[in-house]
């Protein structure tokens, strides 16, 4: 190989600059049997970055159950695929865009949505919904209000323009995210079962087509940046953030779906993290083939880009297609119809090597399997956090003196207040599939032409996860199942976005291991496979790590969506029935954290057997159409759940329960509030008994007040007054 002019001399110091360790550099030299070229070093550093290689998480991810009766494609492709019946499949995935969103919130969040949409439509599925899980710091932290504004605008503008409804998600505020916010984007697509495409480059001689936007300098080394902790220098990394063009995405989406129908496509992958490098290497690795690429034919936005930059640019809205030889003209015709640029940049080969040429010279010649499959894998040291035992000590629970005031103060926080200020900026009804939009337990979409409904939810409570990562992760899975059950949906799979701190810290690796253990345990018990996901490590700034945040996005199927319960009270006179028992669990509760500044104790214990029974019961009750309302009990406990149920229609309720005042704010799991027309009460109570779920007829819906008589107290609050506080809490906290 000849050296291209002005390419830096490669040595271990340069390798370190690119993010490799000295040992990893040695491994690379050993694999190649020589010193790598500058371009080769860049390629290897990107592919071996934490972001692309999962080198610190791989050993644990293997523990997750990824199989199930409906799973057609588990982790390892651009997105997972599950069979949802009647010849249809659902394709979904969630991915983080945390670091870019902290540096440049608008573009970071926007391109997060763009990337996840491409992962879904490259599988041949039409995206029909997005959600996002957003974790912000305290609104008083520096820059935080601008970050919230930028992220929300970014998520909104991108999805709105492409025309994919944003139907749900979650938003939280906690000081642990002050220096490292989280932006996790989820996308769901649907396709006919036989229309699914996998990204496997096959057939030596098949042409490789570059389609979409031109390549620029943006995002070079994005994957490497996402694999480092933040420091003062990170602010200077602006050029590593990509710029999104949702219009180009929309056109690419339509053209790609049309191209995949033409029969002329062998494989396609989005040029996401590590751009042309990851798309070409991953497709060839899956297909067991090689690739010849001629970088002189890559369309460039500006002159002067070298091979290193072209291979690592993360310019957005670009796709790499492997065409069926002889049919490439058909593809070119489709792309030109959509005014997209197409370039033939190489061939699939049978050598198993990636041969990359620039100005006639070979600038990289790498054995693909050795680079992708033999990437470093670490089982990093783990250690239980030293202060865990202190943090898990049972907290003192000050009894609430003024119950209405306590509830009002909880609802007056951005955490528990309405998120409508955010969801109003997202188009939630485009494509006219939305049956239940944002704001309920789960969103529901109709699958036109079928009686099926697709339900979506996204859950995690990082405070629980910080106090007990295994239990916290179990809770996230259990709550997702419960949320789906509230709309009668049976889960078919989940995708996770695992956000953690620096894995080189043994306490963080311990958190990660424990979280995986919790997800795996809950998934096995509740029979939900993990079909795709993403790991985001190094979420820390100046040594301050985020709480472990394993966000769980779950998809469920409703057999018949004609009559779904709301998550709020709809009909005066309905009986309010409480499902599940309270066990006075205040560890990690919103009550202690938001009102008393205490994050202490063990989080509520997850009883997977009780969760299974409750979910089965709820699904049956919804199927029988006996419920007007179903709402799960979660953050803030029964008091907040009841208040939320009152807000939908401004309908109050009058209840009597044998709980003490503090128990109104206990966060015991496996509970739900349902409202039932009188004529079905008997059947509902009997069915609950049959399922082994405790059920109590606690009162009735009606009036303009929420009144709960307790043993030793009474909550009485005006619904409209509470609703005003709840509805305006977030904009007021933002200073709007």
């Amino acid at each position: 190989m000849t050296a291209v002019l002005d390419q830096p001399q490669v040595d271990v110091a340069l390798a370190k600059q690119q993010g490799l360790t000295a040992e990893e550099y040695e491994q690379l030299v050993e694999v190649l049997g020589r010193t790598p070229s500058y371009t080769e070093l860049g390629i290897a550093a990107a592919l071996w970055s934490e972001h692309c290689s999962y080198k610190s998480s791989k050993v644990y991810l293997k523990e997750l159950p990824t199989d199930g009766p409906y799973v057609l494609q588990g982790p390892g492709e651009n997105a997972g695929v599950v069979d949802i019946g009647l010849g249809w499949v659902a394709v979904f995935k969630m991915e983080s865009h945390n670091h870019p969103s902290y540096i440049a919130p608008y573009q970071g969040a926007a391109t997060g949505v763009g990337g996840i949409l491409r992962d879904v439509f490259t599988m041949g599925a039409r995206p029909i919904a997005v959600m996002d899980s957003l974790s912000f710091g305290s609104l008083d932290a520096p820059r935080m209000r601008q970050l919230v504004d930028g992220v929300v605008r970014g998520v909104g503008d991108y999805g709105n323009c492409v025309g994919i409804p944003n139907v749900g998600g979650e938003t939280r505020f906690h000081p642990c995210y002050d220096g490292n916010i989280l932006v996790n984007a989820f996308a769901l697509g649907v396709a006919r079962r036989d229309a699914i495409h996998k990204a496997r480059a096959a057939g030596p001689g098949n042409p490789i087509l570059y389609v979409g936007s031109r390549t620029g300098r943006d995002g070079i080394h994005g994957a490497t940046m996402a694999s480092e902790a933040f420091s003062e220098e990170s602010a200077h990394k602006l050029p590593t953030v990509q710029v999104g063009d949702p219009f180009a995405e929309k056109v690419l989406l339509e053209a790609t779906l049309q191209a995949l129908k033409s029969g002329a496509v062998v494989a396609v992958q989005d040029m996401g993290a590590a751009g042309l490098t990851s798309s070409s290497f991953e497709m060839a690795a899956r297909g067991g083939t090689g690739m010849e690429l001629d970088l002189d034919r890559v369309p460039l936005r500006e002159k002067g880009l070298g091979p290193f930059e072209i291979m690592l640019s993360e310019s957005q809205e670009r796709m790499l297609f492997v065409a069926r030889r002889g049919m490439e003209d058909e593809l070119v015709r489709i792309f030109h119809r959509w005014d997209l640029e197409v370039a033939d940049i190489g061939r699939v080969s049978s050598t198993g090597r990636a041969e990359v040429r620039f100005h006639g010279e070979v600038v990289a010649d790498l054995p693909i399997a050795s680079i992708t499959d033999e990437a470093p894998v670490y089982r990093r040291p783990v250690r239980e956090p030293r202060d865990l035992i202190v943090r898990q000590r049972p907290p003192a629970v000050p009894p609430p003196d003024d119950l209405a005031g306590t509830l009002r103060r909880l609802l007056d926080t951005p955490d528990l207040g309405s998120k409508e200020w955010i969801t109003r900026q997202y188009d939630s009804t485009v494509r006219t599939n939305t049956v239940l939009g944002p704001g309920g337990d789960a969103a529901v979409l109709q699958l036109k032409g079928t009686p099926l409904g697709i339900a979506l939810t996204c859950d995690v409570n990082p405070v629980y996860c910080a106090l007990d990562p295994c239990m916290g992760a179990m809770q996230a899975v259990a709550e997702a199942v419960r949320n789906l059950a509230c709309v009668g949906a049976e889960p078919v799979g989940l995708t996770d976005c695992l956000n953690f701190g620096n894995p080189e810290n043994p306490e963080i690796s311990w958190q990660f291991r424990e979280s995986i253990r919790g997800i795996a345990k809950a998934c096995r018990a509740l029979e939900v496979p993990v079909i795709s996901g993403n790991v985001s490590l190094y979420n820390e700034t100046a040594g301050q790590s985020i709480h472990p945040t394993p966000a769980i996005a779950m998809v469920g199927i409703i057999p018949d969506i004609r009559q779904l319960p709301a998550s709020w009270f709809t009909t005066a006179g309905d009986r309010v029935i409480l499902l599940g028992d309270d066990r006075r669990e205040h560890g990690g509760s919103a009550y202690l954290r938001l009102l008393h500044g205490v994050e202490q104790g063990r989080p509520p214990a997850v009883d997977l057997d009780a969760e299974t029974k409750l979910a089965e019961l709820l699904r049956l009750l919804v199927f029988e159409q006996w419920l007007h309302t179903a709402h799960d009990v979660s953050e803030g406990g029964l008091a907040v759940t009841l208040a939320e149920a009152c807000f939908g229609r401004g309908l109050g309720a009058e209840l009597e329960v044998s709980l003490d005042p503090a128990q109104l704010f206990s966060e015991t799991q496996a509970r739900a509030v349902i409202a039932v027309p009188s004529k079905h009460v008997k059947a509902v109570l009997q069915t609950a008994e049959d399922f082994g779920v405790s059920a109590r007829d606690a009162g009735k819906v009606g009036g303009g007040k929420l009144q709960v008589k307790l043993s030793g107290g009474k909550l009485a609050a005006d619904v409209e007054e509470l609703r005003q506080v709840w509805a305006t809490a977030l904009p007021r906290a933002l200073g709007l």
Binding site: N160, F247, Q425, T429, V430
Partner: protein, 243 residues
Amino acid sequence: MRCGIVVFPGSNCDHDVYHVWKHVLGEDATFLWHDDTHLQDSELVVLPGGFSYGDYLRAGAMAAQSPIMAAVKRHADAGGLVLGVCNGFQILCEAGLLPGLLMRNEGLRFLSRDVYLRVERDDLPYTHRLRRGQVLRMPIAHGDGLYFDRADKLDALEKNGQVVFRYSSPDGKVDAANDEWNPNGSQRSIAGIANRAGNVMALMPHPERCAEALAGNEDGAELWRSVAESAVTSGRRRAGSAR
């Protein structure tokens, strides 16, 4: 009635209109490509919502220059039906088929929510199944929906009866200064207008998103039914068209 739905690059409510027209109403629908120059015998042409050409220059500005728009203008001039929804409204204004223009929402944010509309005209092909003063609930989803024109032009618009829908309270009160009722700050709460002949109409809210029971709201269905029936009553149906 045969409905042609124009697909610009970036249109994203095209499938939604197609679905309502074809599957909810059982009428004949076809897509028209922005580069084409004929309307495939469409009696009704719909310019759907979306972000044509990304709305990068100005909402609707580039789409208004598309080859298909010359055919749409000819169709409109000949008395044919042309309906714009959301981005379609913006395009019709940019193309000069409707007066005025749509500016950035007053709050400078994208707005996705339900609004209430008071029906001001019930004698158009699009509204003859509605009653004047009737209030409809419909979703909006736009960033540029503030209807704007010079005061004298607005006076003329009102005098000519070209205002078809106004944003209102749930019981039909109109107050342009109330941002709950008039969410984007449109002048005189204008949500939808027609040309003087009444054959070209556009509105910012999305009637195609509330035309089925499953959507939880069917207030938009009557608008579509009005159009579908209008050809029968007006006898404007062209020979040789489908159905």
